[in-house]
Point group: C2
Chain length 338, copies 2
């Protein structure tokens, strides 16, 4: 029986997992990401441990990596990652050499889009716009089952579309970026500003310390009827719909999928987004509005990476890639080094 491992390499954690035949995650292994100021080798060690644990003594047929960073168009290197010590690192070949198994690499939002396209809310659609609302906005356009990669592998960076001239400052160094108004961070900013100011159960939930408030707490409070929490989702949802109007006008996708942690709120987020999309989309009276659907959960990146691994090792698969020539020099099998 074949074994394909998917790994989500995020800024705070490394999560490896294996899917069953229906694409459900059946086994996972978690490690902390060592951080940005360590050697690249330390991140590779954490990856190796997580993959070894989930592989449970077997050698995978292939491993897929979903990296939180810019991946080059050849999918060989992580060019830049805000929370990882990789800058131009040839991650794919290096891990393939180390492990002696086929490794495929892609950006985490692209992997999530693959998962939505194969198994999730975009299944069967010829085109899909997939957003991942987490700390920021990840995005991808899927056309005929393929992620639009762009000339430099950098397509899908929707989060830094400017929606307010001279608006809120963004970590990217510019201002007014969409993700400053539509993301987990935007949700928390809205909610935290009201802790101790307006009557809200959020104040108790964070013990009166707004900086301790978490996204899931806001989601739970909204579920329990808290007005401020609901307003936070309505605000983010409105921004979501406005931005979607620009992207739907540009791409005209068959379906829009919104995943990531913030999407756990479901229609509380998506209903205001749908309403804003209908208000702001040009020619809305002359077209069918695309459905806006909730995506897979927080493990979409992992699932997509595992699917890419599976496709890479399938005979004649489009994503197939021969192991690098010196792959056999790597230690056979995957063993934790510590």
């Amino acid at each position: 029986m074949s074994l394909h491992v998917g790994v989500d390499v995020g800024g705070t954690k490394v999560l490896a997992g294996v899917l069953d035949a229906d694409g459900r995650v059946v086994r996972t292994a978690l490690r902390s990401t060592p951080g940005r100021r360590v050697s690249p080798g330390m991140v590779e060690d954490a990856l190796t441990e997580a993959v070894a644990e989930v592989a449970d003594g077997r050698t995978p047929d292939a491993v897929g990596l979903a990296a939180a960073g810019f991946v080059d168009v050849d999918r060989e290197r992580v060019m830049f990652a805000p929370h990882l010590p990789w800058a131009g690192e040839p991650v794919r070949a290096r891990l393939e050499d180390r492990w002696g198994v086929r490794v495929v690499l892609d950006n985490d939002a692209n992997c999530a889009a693959v998962a939505e396209s194969r198994l999730g809310a975009a299944r069967g659609a010829t085109s899909a716009l997939v957003l991942t609302l987490g700390t920021g906005i990840g995005g991808a356009l899927v056309l005929d089952g393929h992620v639009l990669r762009g000339a430099q592998g950098m397509a899908g960076e929707f989060g830094h579309m400017q929606v307010v001239p001279d608006g809120r400052g963004c970590e990217c160094g510019r201002s007014g970026c969409w993700e400053q108004y539509c993301s987990g961070n935007a949700l928390l900013r809205f909610a935290r500003a009201r802790v101790g100011v307006e009557p809200t159960m959020l104040t108790d939930l964070c013990g009166g310390r707004p900086e301790r408030l978490t996204g899931p707490q806001v989601t739970d409070a909204a579920e329990d009827g808290d007005l401020v929490a609901r307003q936070a989702f309505a605000s983010v949802g409105e921004s979501l719909g406005r931005g979607l109007a620009a992207l739907v006008a540009a791409f005209d996708p068959e379906v829009v999928v919104v995943g990531g942690g913030v999407s756990a709120a479901g229609d509380r987020l998506l209903d205001p987004a749908r309403a804003a999309l209908a208000r702001h989309l040009v020619g809305a009276d002359h077209r069918v509005l695309p459905p806006v659907r909730v995506g897979l959960g927080a493990d979409a990146g992992l699932v997509g990476a595992a699917l890419l691994a599976e496709e890479a090792s399938a005979p004649g698969g489009a994503q197939m890639r021969a192991p690098s020539s010196n792959g056999s020099r790597g230690s056979r099998g995957i063993r934790a080094t510590r």
Copy 2:
């Protein structure tokens, strides 16, 4: 020798033309567009006259139509056009029946993108973002030589991306649309507001009547050193670059092409656009900026339509389409009815 006619069906004029072997327009025929409140048949009459004149007694192998309106995904109908009496009209089949020759139909911005991709500034690029700056903004994304049509044939509507919340009112009924800041209309609004107010040769050019000022006059005045005219292009160029930053982040095209009447100003428009793109594009330090090039002139739509006609009648052409079953019932050859 084969004969392929391209027709640009615009809001004010119908322009038919024929290309030589190098893709240059060698013969044109012009008619006024009868307007919006006439019968669809009257527009078809104008088209027939223009095509008959340019065909000069011969029967074309195929005719391509570049329509200023929304074309359905099957490229059979003009669903909606602000300046034409077509609303869901099956234009392609009707003209094919009337003329007894193969007819292909597409949106004018898509046709211009085809022209740029085959013969213009995007030639040889695997992906191109093509904008047509005229009264408003026409746009298309070309991927591997094909225009991205979208699920409903409505992709590429970049002009109504909201760039200023609650900004300038737009003809589309919304506000803050990009084309309110970046188009021929935006250029004229900027220039007209300064006629008789600031020292500018534009005042003389329009006889002190700002409403008579034309785009080409602003272009000429800028060329002659007029400061206000140059500021108008700098303003539109800045907006162009800001919007391009959002689209380049989304699509990551190999090249950006800006055509249409406003682009006649060349680098006077594009230099500020390039500077704004570099300032506003996320990750600009970690990527190569795509070149921003001037596109073909005002006849790009016509040229693209003629190329589509050529491709449609080529044996085994991807765009090939059999004449509708009752095509032979139409009058053979194209003759003006008046």
